[in-house]
């Protein structure tokens, strides 16, 4: 029973990270219709910025958010203006390939600068809290907390600010948004920039608990895709639910099937994805275009 509860807690904590990681991917897909295959590489960039601040300037990783998010915001804005803007209204294949190429470029640039050695950041917020037989890892608890705060802020932003409203309008109906005077390309650029900043924050959140290396991206992209396809495009509660489902599945597999470890995490998320898409094409929680009818 204790083992079960422990796995449950670890799964929820992993799920919190997945949820915040998936948000950027999900909102970009929902608003712009672009499936960003460079997503995992953006997470990786955020993690590396945190690592540099931590290693060279001795910053606390959680404090590095103050730098990571603005830097990634600017980067996202530039990327959108230079590259993504050219593929927004073109077939999916084009944007898939362009973002894939971008991902390869990002991971290899980082490899050239910092080599392919795995890195990790050191945080002062470490150790364990014990409640009975169950342990709460302190770092992961703070990660979950930060993830929830970030999601709440994004929700409030999208719900109540003028820019947030125009982003939602653009997601609902591009043409109508244009007609009522929303500068659609500006909205796209802001959306992409915000999502990149969120993704960079996710990179910071992963850096104290897992090894970071230049080629960590593609599995994260795949998990983001799996969660988004399961939970619906651009939906924040959906991302939270989907992230926690995937986190639980991964942790329970690692706990109850010995000798495999978390290596098969990507396999489980993939199997989950295919099973969900084939049996429930509208997604687990509805609200998604049916996968078998999208062109």
């Amino acid at each position: 029973m204790d083992q079960f509860l422990q796995a449950l807690i670890n799964g929820v904590m992993l799920g919190g990270f997945y949820a915040v990681m998936v948000l950027g991917f999900s909102v970009i897909w929902g608003v712009m219709g672009v499936i960003n295959l460079a997503h995992g590489e953006l997470v990786m960039l955020g993690a590396y910025i945190t690592w540099v601040l931590n290693k060279q300037f001795g910053w606390e990783p959680f404090a590095a958010l103050v730098v990571v998010m603005p830097v990634m915001f600017v980067l996202g804005y530039i990327l959108q203006r230079v590259l993504i803007n050219r593929v927004v209204e073109r077939p999916h294949l084009i944007s898939l390939l362009v973002t894939f190429g971008l991902g390869i470029m990002l991971s290899n640039s980082v490899k050239l600068i910092y080599t392919a050695d795995p890195r990790q950041t050191k945080t002062a917020l470490s150790g364990f809290w014990r409640v009975g037989q169950i342990t709460f890892p302190v770092t992961k608890t703070y990660i979950l907390l930060a993830a929830l705060i970030i999601m709440l802020l994004l929700y409030l932003f999208l719900q109540y600010t003028r820019t947030g409203k125009s982003i939602r309008a653009a997601a609902q109906n591009r043409e109508a948004a244009r007609i009522v005077g929303i500068e659609i390309h500006q909205v796209y650029a802001i959306t992409f920039a915000i999502c990149t900043a969120l993704t960079g924050a996710a990179g910071m959140l992963i850096s104290p608990t897992q090894a970071i290396f230049p080629f960590m991206g593609p599995p994260l992209t795949l998990k983001a895709f799996a969660i988004t396809a399961m939970s619906g495009l651009g939906s924040i509660p959906g991302a939270l639910m989907g992230g926690i489902v995937l986190g639980l599945v991964e942790v329970f597999i690692a706990t109850y099937i010995p000798g495999i470890g978390t290596n098969l995490g990507i396999v489980s998320s993939f199997v989950l994805l295919v099973v969900v898409l084939v049996t429930r094409p509208q997604g687990l929680f509805g609200g998604l275009q049916p996968a078998t009818e999208v062109r």
């Binding site: 499936i35 590259l83 050219r86 593929v87 999916h92 294949l93 084009i94 898939l96 390939l97 362009v98 894939f100 190429g101 971008l102 991902g103 390869i104 470029m105 290899n108 640039s109 050239l112 080629f215 593609p218 599995p219 795949l222 895709f225 799996a226 396809a229 495999i260 290596n263 098969l264 990507i266 396999v267 998320s269 993939f270 199997v271 994805l273 295919v274 898409l277 084939v278 094409p281 996968a291 078998t292 009818e293 999208v294 062109r295």
Partner: protein
Amino acid sequence: MKGLKQIWRQYRLNRWFLFLLLVGLFALPLPQFVAPERKLVTNSLLFSFTQMFMLITLASNWNLTGGFTGYVDFGHAVFFGLGAYGTGILMNKLGWPFWPAMVVGGMISAVFAVLIGSATLRLKGPYFSISMLGTFVAMREIVRVSKPLTGGGEGLTLPPYLNRPLFYYITLILAILVVTLIWWIRRTEFGATLIAIREDEIGAEMRGINTTLNKITAFWIAAFLSGLVGGLWAYQNTFIDPDVVFFESRTVELVMMTMLGGLGTVAGPVIGAAVIYWLRDVVWASFFQYHLLVEGALLIIIVLFVPEGIMGALGDDSSTSLGRIMRRWFRESPKEGVA
């Protein structure tokens, strides 16, 4: 003045040109047998050609699902890897000779293609592409984890057999057979069915075409042929491990080559694979650490500026940038006959 397009039209189906090219390719290793000490043709040149023929075969296979059927597969290298591992396991663990091992390796790929395809081919567009990417990454992890069978991260060694001219001829003949097969498929009813599925899947279904069956057929044919190439590659390389066999950029390369040559054309993958292979081998072999960086940039450039590829630009009047530039340069009259 004759436009480049007319020149191309005049020569592309010229049997003499093709015949001379093939005779030249078949004759290339001959100096090795006649005068080995003169080193007119080095083993490394033959090796380069062998790699190019393999890429041509793989890109042509990819084109069958990605180009003709319109199902863009981001994980085609999984079939290459299964073929390589099938061959490797049969030769290393069971001591099979190469030829049956290679064919069985291909069959393993084909069976896997039928299994996975019957699930993923029901998905459309990006869902299919990314499911296949997931298949590819998942398969690499499965191979890494199932250590008793595959040797895990340490890999498998195959009995070494270094005979460059032999591999040259095998891959050349395989490439010719595959391209001919695909050219022939394009002319059969089956090929027309695949194009119909790409253009309008629901319409094709309305006409009474069993789209799922046709898609799966194209998928397993391509998987079988790629599995054969994987087996050949494993035997030639004499060593396989999850990271070299399931090499991430291999799967993108196939897409890139086919896009550069022309998606959904028979000659496209051949031209694209040849151009990119030699570009990489000659131009940036000396900047090896930048090679993936350049490859990513090249992918973006091709996709943004030449999405219909060289064949598209040379073929009918295309809307690609390259096609427009060519038309402006050669001031051609638009559209005559079918391309």
